[in-house]
């Protein structure tokens, strides 16, 4: 349910790119951070249904996941958070949230375009 409306947006964004280039979408590359709140498998599940009858019909969806990273306030290094902890594995300092892992965008599309 949660992924349905965002998958509609993905199909719209890719179809719009295809329309501008007078083509059809063959492949979509998405970047979905693990902290984005969206699950790649669920998007994949809805995609074929939503793409039917659009310029994305039959296109393949490739999802690149990104592991969330914290940044240590003391030593500045990035690291992955352990359960119930924000501690930096390098220096023991405190980690703060970063945008890494919250990505949620359409990176690129491959189009099949008629020759002029």
């Amino acid at each position: 349910m949660h992924e349905y409306p965002v998958t509609v947006q993905i199909v719209d964004i890719a179809s719009e790119t295809a329309r501008k280039n007078n083509g059809r979408v063959r492949r979509i590359d998405l970047v979905v951070g693990e902290d984005s709140g969206f699950i790649g498998e669920s998007i994949q599940m809805y995609f074929d249904v939503i793409a039917e009858g659009t310029l994305c019909e039959g296109a393949q969806l490739f999802i690149e996941g990104v592991k969330p990273q914290l940044r240590c306030e003391k030593c500045g290094k990035h690291f992955e958070r352990k359960r119930f902890s924000f501690q930096c594995p390098y220096c023991g300092g405190d980690g703060e949230p970063t945008p890494i892992g919250k990505e949620f965008y359409v990176k690129s599309v491959e189009l099949e375009v008629e020759d002029q």
């Binding site: 949660h2 964004i13 790119t17 119930f84 703060e96 949230p97 990176k107 690129s108 189009l111 099949e112």
Partner: protein, 216 residues
Amino acid sequence: MHMMKADVMVDIHARNNHIAEHVHEHLAEHKIFAVNIMGAPGAGKTTTLENLLKHLDVPGYVIEGDIESNIDTERLRKQNIAATQINTFGACHLDAPLVHNAIHALPFDKPGILFIENVGNLVCPAEFSIGEDIKLLQVSVTDGSDKPYKYPLAFEKADIIVLNKIDLLPYVDFDEEFFMKGIRHLNKTAPVFKVSGKTGEGYAEAAAWLKQRAGF
């Protein structure tokens, strides 16, 4: 026929965010300060907005978001609070198009504060901008002190955190130090107000902060 690759780099939330900006502009024109209230079902979101409105001597407006029913809207209208209902029928959060449709149901005849009570859920409401000025996170001691660790985004994005049901502290194992430590790792600035919906304790302070933040 040939293949071509096109770089897109478009945020999937772009359309939602565009509508959210439009909602925000509309509210700003009417001098309405909007508060997005997020929290798990039963944390006390409606109780908190009722109590805040009692302490705020500025006009209040409410949009209630629920999967089904208008129980909360009816409850507020009985108190002469201008309220309108959004039913999402299954969707787990409010998004900007839903709020855009709802704002036209409210009069906004005087400058004031609009509370938009999101669907009870500690997860996805934090991911969607709905045109608000600030996000208020409603948690309660019965939710458990591990929530900042389990649902970090809601705590990270909050501008104000209201911890409800403190009258139940003697009866529940709520580790306040662990709770606060988790919050401060995620969010350095949001004030945390301890309140009781049962006794009314703590709401005057939270309302004073809100009033100042809203510029009234």
